[in-house]
């Protein structure tokens, strides 16, 4: 096959990149080699536009065992246990085929976690759809939710937390990010770095088909009007086979026969073999005749670029082949030695006794292009709207409209489609600020949550970046967990656009500042660029997934009110910031102005104080204040607990909308037992923590004194109906 300009373009490579390939090879590549380069050099595998920015993120603290650079990050949780976790995007495939796209997204992230020797114990997801009025949205929502559930439920790992948002910016490009969390013994962690020459390279799992040929390149190209044509590349997930693969791998890992192991994710056999060889500073030889194929007459090109799911590559210690094969036979899975490690640092592929590709490993990895793309700053938007004069707006109606809107409605419709209880260690299912998963057979737990806020990030990326880290941190604190580390999925538009690149660079600056201040490092993550269509980019949407430790899970608290007659305190100062708020968006249809400011000092003080109160058993329930403001958070504490609250307007209140809908950061609502109130007040004073007593819990009624009162059952109905009616 002739390598024309068109062929090069179809492979997502620029002419300059092609020239570089020829330089590195000192000759023209053949089409197989070109395919391999295109897979390794695309944005998804090479991080060519993002690397220089990602390097800025803090990646260490005293709990971190493994930061970015492996299949997933790892933190120490004591007692010889460690938690492995990572988040990854499957945006483009999910837009094309929502069920399979979302399902294979879950499958992929699970492999990243069990590859490291961990048994997955929880799944999370962050999903973003276009506006509900968009005709595609309903199908996409249904497909994605059942795909996520279909995979997780079948394999038997509880899906315990997530977030679902609607915004017109995702009309033509939805976001599906999946996060997996696993548990491993600290001394039983497996890595992808190859070691030793002449070791067997083994292919295990499903057979290779023509699935998703060039999926990784697809994930790095914008949609355009003929994205229809790209459709056949969608992969079909087989959670049943993944379950077998997971059990077989974990069984093999009990023994000492694995040198290194790597899942075949994006760019399949190509990226897994190159990554293992590159990390081990050696080469690899593969005999493609041996690759188990599902279809007849598959070409080397197809085998190397197939993205068939549920496959792994393993490098074995000498002489362990038979023992290992027995385990895979038991689970009815393919197990084939397809090659070996070699001293020459090359990827050498053989097919029908010919050498069909011969590429220096470095050319595919460390020599891949890296770009310092141009970017522009986003100025802090001015405060133009005047929110002082809202006389015509009815407070109660606005409040009810917000809690019955797509974005703020109860998500039961979704979470009931996920098995949240399998494995029997789910102490807190989704619905609270974070989920709590017990460490099996131990009196210890972790809290996990994912967060994003695209409106804030769009308005001002540095502040937005800080804000999501803080919000995620707050969510873990609210469950009584000490936040340890995060993973992040950075969903952005086209990086060749300077404004988008600027959003990316500045979001990272924001994330970095917050992570450093809170000692909350990044241990893994994923970048998804080219989200958008025909030059219209999505709002910058970084998603943060956090993990925290709970030492004594039996004292567990959540956001639900516990008793009648208790005081509810608002911790943190309210300024009444309405720009970019749910109120401004949903009620006034105003999307301008800056996001709420982040004050890291207050954030940390308030959070640590709340955590201390929880530790000392002085609070009954905790909820952070986020989108929708205080009134929405209070409503959430009522709904589900069936306990109401009588909210008192603070003295000197001049704008009820600003006070109750304002989205100022660093705030928590806490319920204090009557008998502990004095003690808590003293502590607040001693620690100089700003607070107000905002209400008293009561039976049945959710009430704002002097404004309105509504029955909890009624409120709950209003909050529940959106999904069921959509």
């Amino acid at each position: 096959m002739n390598i024309t300009k068109e062929v090069i373009q179809k492979h997502g490579l620029t002419i300059e990149e092609f020239v570089k390939i020829k330089d590195l090879l000192q000759r023209e590549p053949n089409i197989l080699e070109l395919g391999i380069f295109s897979a390794m050099w695309n944005e998804h595998c090479s991080y060519k536009s993002s690397k220089i920015h990602l390097k800025k993120l803090p990646t260490k603290n005293k709990n971190v065992i493994q930061g970015p650079g492996e299949n997933a990050g790892i933190i120490d949780i004591g007692d010889g246990d460690a938690i492995v976790f990572k988040i990854e995007s499957h945006n483009h495939p999910s837009f094309i085929e929502p069920y399979q796209g979302a399902a294979t997204g879950v499958g992929g992230i699970l492999r990243d976690v069990f590859t490291m020797g961990a048994r997955p114990i929880a799944l999370l997801n962050s999903i973003h759809f276009g506006s509900p009025e968009n005709t595609k949205t309903r199908n996409l929502l249904h497909g994605v939710v059942s795909g996520i559930g279909g995979y997780g439920n079948c394999i038997g790992i509880p899906t315990v937390a997530g977030e679902t948002k609607f915004n017109q910016t995702y009309n033509e490009n939805i976001l599906v990010n999946a996060m997996a969390v696993g548990l491993v013994k600290k001394n039983k962690i497996f890595y992808s770095k190859a070691k030793g020459i002449g070791k067997s390279v083994v292919y295990v799992g499903s057979k290779t088909g023509r699935d998703g040929i060039h999926g990784a390149s697809m994930a790095s190209a914008e949609f355009d009007d003929d994205s229809e044509e790209k459709k056949p590349t969608v992969q079909v997930g087989d959670p049943f086979t993944e379950k077998l693969l997971m059990e077989a791998c974990l069984e093999l890992m009990k023994d000492k026969s694995i040198i290194s192991i790597q899942d075949m994710g994006a760019a399949g056999l190509t990226s897994s073999s190159v990554e293992m060889a590159f990390k081990g500073d050696l080469g690899m030889e593969i005999n493609l005749d041996k690759v188990p194929c599902r279809e007849e007459k598959m070409t080397p090109y197809e085998m190397m670029l197939s993205e068939s799911q549920e496959r792994m590559l393993i490098i074995l210690e000498d002489g362990k082949e038979n023992e290992a094969k027995k385990i895979f036979d038991k689970w009815d899975l393919d197990f084939v030695v397809i090659g070996k490690t070699i001293e020459t640092k090359k990827l050498k592929l053989y097919y029908k006794n010919d050498i069909v590709a011969d590429i220096p490993i470095e050319a595919l990895s460390s020599s891949a292009p890296q770009y310092e793309r141009k970017w522009t700053k986003t100025e802090l938007p001015k405060k133009e709207t005047n929110f002082k004069n809202l006389k015509k707006i009815n407070f109660k109606e606005s409040f009810l409209k917000i809690i019955s809107s797509s974005n703020h409605s109860n998500k039961n419709w979704i979470t009931e489609q996920y098995d949240q209880m399998v494995m029997c260690d789910t102490i807190q299912k989704s619905g609270s600020d974070a989920a709590i998963i017990r460490i099996h057979k131990k009196n210890k737990a972790i809290a996990v949550a994912v967060d994003s806020s695209a409106n804030y990030c769009k308005s001002h990326p540095i502040t937005g970046g800080k804000q999501i880290v803080c919000e995620n941190w707050r969510n873990l604190i609210s469950m009584g967990a000490k936040p340890i580390a995060i993973t992040n999925c950075l969903n952005f538009g086209n990086p060749e656009n300077q404004e988008v690149m600027g959003q990316f660079a500045e979001t990272i600056i924001g994330i970095k500042e917050a992570c450093e201040y809170l000692d909350y490092p990044v241990v893994s993550g994923n970048v998804s660029f080219y989200n958008g269509t025909n030059k219209k980019n999505i709002f910058p949407t970084p998603v943060i997934g956090g993990v925290g430790i709970i030492q004594k899970p039996e004292k567990n608290i959540n956001h639900l009110f516990k008793e009648v007659g208790n005081s509810v305190l608002l911790i943190g100062k309210t300024f009444g910031h309405l720009y970019q708020s749910a109120f401004s968006n949903e009620i006034l249809s105003i999307n301008e102005g800056p996001p709420p400011e982040i004050n890291l000092i207050n954030e940390k003080n308030n959070g640590e104080f709340v955590l201390e109160l929880i530790k000392q058993n002085l609070v009954l329930s905790v909820h952070d204040v986020s989108a929708g403001g205080t009134i929405v958070s209070l409503a959430e504490m009522s709904i589900g607990s069936s306990l109401g609250v009588k909210i008192e307007k603070p003295k000197n209140l001049n704008n009820i909308f600003e006070y109750f809908f304002g989205e100022d950061q660093g705030r928590y609502l806490i319920e204090i037992d009557k008998n502990n109130l004095e003690k808590v007040k003293e502590l607040l004073k001693k620690n100089n923590i700003f607070h107000e007593i905002i209400g008293i819990t009561q039976k049945d009624k959710f009430e704002l004194a002097g404004e309105f009162s509504i029955d909890i059952k009624e409120l709950s109905k209003i909050n529940n109906k959106w999904y069921y009616n959509y």
């Binding site: 394999i155 098995d419 209880m421």
Partner: protein
């Protein structure tokens, strides 16, 4: 008491139910589906999950496995057999229990805590419950919509062969308290001899008050002697 939990490829509540049995002092063994010998057991449990991916019909393929012949033999000799969720579906496919488990009426997977009314206590499985007691267990299934013909339904009702019915918190049994469309709100049934129980809700998920609830304990403790 000796118990055996049968593990099929795709079972995923095997560990959960083993933990529950061990907690209740059963001497439990996990039995791999390719085994042809069943250890001597007083109780055989077929756990929940997605045996063979639930492909074709849930439970259909597991019902053709080698070990199932041993289970059928033991069951016919009077051994106690408990099938939970996918285990219930498998028991139906083997013919040990009659009827069918169709797709949930809303065609969606449903995971939630449900209220159940204990409908029959004159048997080895439920004797520690009170008749009419309302308990809370967790369901998690796609195909739990129990269906059977009129004659069999009558037989089930007349002979006290319905173990649990879905109800609301106050105990009312009606369409609103029926999560999946099951005929007569049936959540679990016995065979004629009452040595086999198939049920969609998961008792093993409710054995600890501090985690999720403990209404499942009485089922296991009933079996103990």
């Amino acid at each position: 008491m000796n118990s055996s939990v049968i593990v099929f490829p795709g079972s995923n509540c095997d560990r959960d139910i083993a933990v529950a049995l061990e907690k209740m002092q059963f001497k439990n063994k996990l039995v791999w589906h390719k085994d042809t010998n069943l250890p001597k057991s007083d109780l055989i449990v077929i756990p929940g999950g997605f045996s063979y991916g639930d492909y074709l019909r849930s439970g259909a393929i597991a019902a053709k496995s080698k070990i199932i012949n041993e289970v059928i033999k033991a069951a016919n000799e009077g051994c106690l057999v408990l099938g939970v969720c996918n285990g219930f579906q498998i028991l139906i496919e083997t013919g040990l229990l009659k009827g069918a488990l169709l797709r949930n009426k809303n065609l969606k997977f449903i995971n939630k805590d449900v209220s159940l009314k204990v409908n029959s206590i004159n048997n080895k499985f439920c004797k520690k419950y009170k008749l009419g007691q309302i308990i809370k267990l967790n369901i998690a299934h796609n195909e739990g919509n129990y269906f059977t013909n009129k004659d069999h339904l009558k037989e089930l009702e007349d002979n006290n062969l319905i173990a649990f019915k879905y109800c609301d918190e106050k105990g009312f049994i009606n369409q609103n308290s029926n999560p999946n469309g099951s005929v007569n709100n049936i959540a679990g049934i016995f065979n004629k001899n009452k040595n086999i129980l198939g049920m969609m809700p998961h008792p093993e998920r409710m054995i600890e008050k501090s985690v999720s609830g403990d209404d499942g304990i009485s089922l296991f403790s009933s079996l103990l002697n």
